[in-house]
Symmetry: C2
Subunit: 330 residues, 2 copies
């Protein structure tokens, strides 16, 4: 199965609906600001997941387009606000919203996207009680995403983050939105309660695996694959699972012993050679292998959850999507 081709065909379908949903409001400046990221494209994995799951449990995948677009808009709202908080200048090759306009406009644009997301949710073609369930799920999920983002920010100023805390942060910041997408797809598609629960787990587990694998790639892949410099997580001192595991494994004694190499961790001006030494240190503690193993284990467990689905092209695609997200080294 050509996963990239499936993704890009699905994305085209989503884009048409998505950009139509974002033709809102009378005030042009705000409308332009909210369309800035969505117009720049993207894989649209969350809508795609919702649509594929809806189809896999037996309904038309198109019924899940509004719900999927709701989550894509939520995803974009978090990006707009995250970029303000992280003071990032570029996203998808374009200036970030607060750079193109200003911080107040970016905060408002994020809020406006949030509002549009729920407006789109209301158009989901399901009965009112299932809509209530989707509303509960989406709002619960966004609260968890906010918690994950708050943890991520708070971790930056801490050196004692545990592996357990890291796993909770990743689950909340990344995985639950995918889980909500797959769960919602199963609800919209009229899946059984078992399928609804298993689809949530499928996407939660692969979402965690995906984020951990992404951190691994950030250290072992080439700049071309990453679209950003290798080791930028090292220079930013990012608390990835690898870093957290390495610092924990080294302990106070080990961290003192390797203080010289570790100076490059969190030093934006560290040279390539210095970064490489940190990567070697993280290899010596077994932290890269540890992260790979954990990510692959999540991917394996995620795919097991697909057992609840009847055989179909969609089921195969959901499995292929996990392998596409976790396990690639180039």
């Amino acid at each position: 199965m050509d996963v990239m081709k499936e993704i890009s065909e699905g994305a085209k379908k989503v884009d048409a609906a998505l950009l139509k949903y974002l033709e809102v409001g009378k005030y042009e400046k705000l409308r332009k600001a909210i369309r800035h990221y969505p117009e720049a494209g993207g894989k649209r994995l969350r809508p795609l997941m919702a649509m594929t799951v809806a189809e896999a449990v037996g309904m038309k995948g198109d019924d899940a387009i509004p719900f999927g677009c709701c989550l894509e808009i939520v995803h974009n709202f978090t990006l707009v606000h995250d970029d303000v908080m992280d003071e990032d200048q570029m996203r998808r090759g374009r200036p970030t919203v607060h750079v193109l306009y200003d911080v107040p406009t970016a905060i408002i644009a994020g809020d406006a996207l949030f509002a549009v997301a729920f407006k789109v949710l209301a158009t989901t073609p399901v009965d009112g009680e299932r809509l209530r369930r989707l509303l509960e799920s989406v709002s619960d999920t966004i609260y968890l995403v906010a918690e994950g983002q708050q943890m991520d920010i708070d971790f930056e100023s801490r050196t004692d983050v545990t592996v357990e805390e890291y796993m909770e942060m990743v689950e909340k910041k990344t995985a639950v939105l995918f889980a909500c997408a797959a769960e919602g797809g199963a609800i919209i598609g009229g899946g059984t309660e078992d399928q609804i629960r298993d689809m949530y787990e499928y996407a939660r587990l692969s979402g965690i695996g995906f984020q951990i694998w992404d951190d691994v790639l950030g250290l072992i892949a080439s700049e071309k694959v990453l679209g950003k410099p290798v080791g930028s997580d090292i220079r930013n001192g990012k608390r990835t699972l690898i870093a957290v595991h390495a610092l924990e494994t080294l302990g106070t004694k080990g961290r003192k012993q390797h203080a010289e190499e570790l100076k490059a961790f969190g030093n934006p001006k560290a040279t390539d050679a210095e970064v490489k030494k940190v990567i070697q240190l993280f290899e010596s503690t077994g932290s890269i292998k540890h992260a790979k193993d954990i990510a692959l284990d999540y991917a394996f467990k995620s795919k097991k959850k697909l057992d609840c689905l009847p055989e179909s092209k969609e089921k195969q695609f959901l499995a292929a999507l996990v392998d596409f997200s976790v396990g690639r080294e180039h």
Copy 2:
């Protein structure tokens, strides 16, 4: 009717439910941040309006508590983000959220409040299709509030704001959330389509009147009544209806002629005497009287919309609420 007593009794009822809704999440720091403003109290006028309207059209007002709390939480989320944008230091006698924590935490806390608002909405005791209608109304409303906030911010750097633009901004930033409250109360209370539409208009009209009257009070009331220094709108150069009307009436020629007095408009360091001269100028252009007349006219038209309701204590209270908001000079 003792309006203040009715308000404070209603607020007590709302507070108990509201603070319970805000016992969410596992991450204590975020939970404390989202509770910071709601815990500081407030008149809870939006929930009160929803509950009173629900009762006035014939149902238990308590059925509208979740919906009313949803809007109160939305209101608080806008305050948290507005304070970040305006760089305000204090609110309700306490440090603002971004001062107590930091800007990223305040942005996230606002987003988290937004999420909780929709979580609470989902608990509204109405059938699913009416819930869908409420969801549409609330999300449409928040988009309008975002537009109003964006206009307000953009006006700060403009001298050519028209009365028409000002009226649109006030309607969006302030009035539509009240309108949504009254409309939702009528929907939840099982009101007729005519009642639902008229209740929306009742609150939209009085909301506009209230904001204009508030700007009048900012110039003519005492510091004790205002809870802030008299003329702070003058020192901040705020584009109130009064200022917009005065600048428009003066025209280019008049503005040149009164350039000396107008220096105090938008000058945070202007003396009391200088501020007084600006107020006198705004009086001489008839702008204060103009704003009063407009506000009272909105209040009058608002109360006319109550004709659709049967006689009741609640109907009287809704009328008294308008007179309480528009027309007081002390």
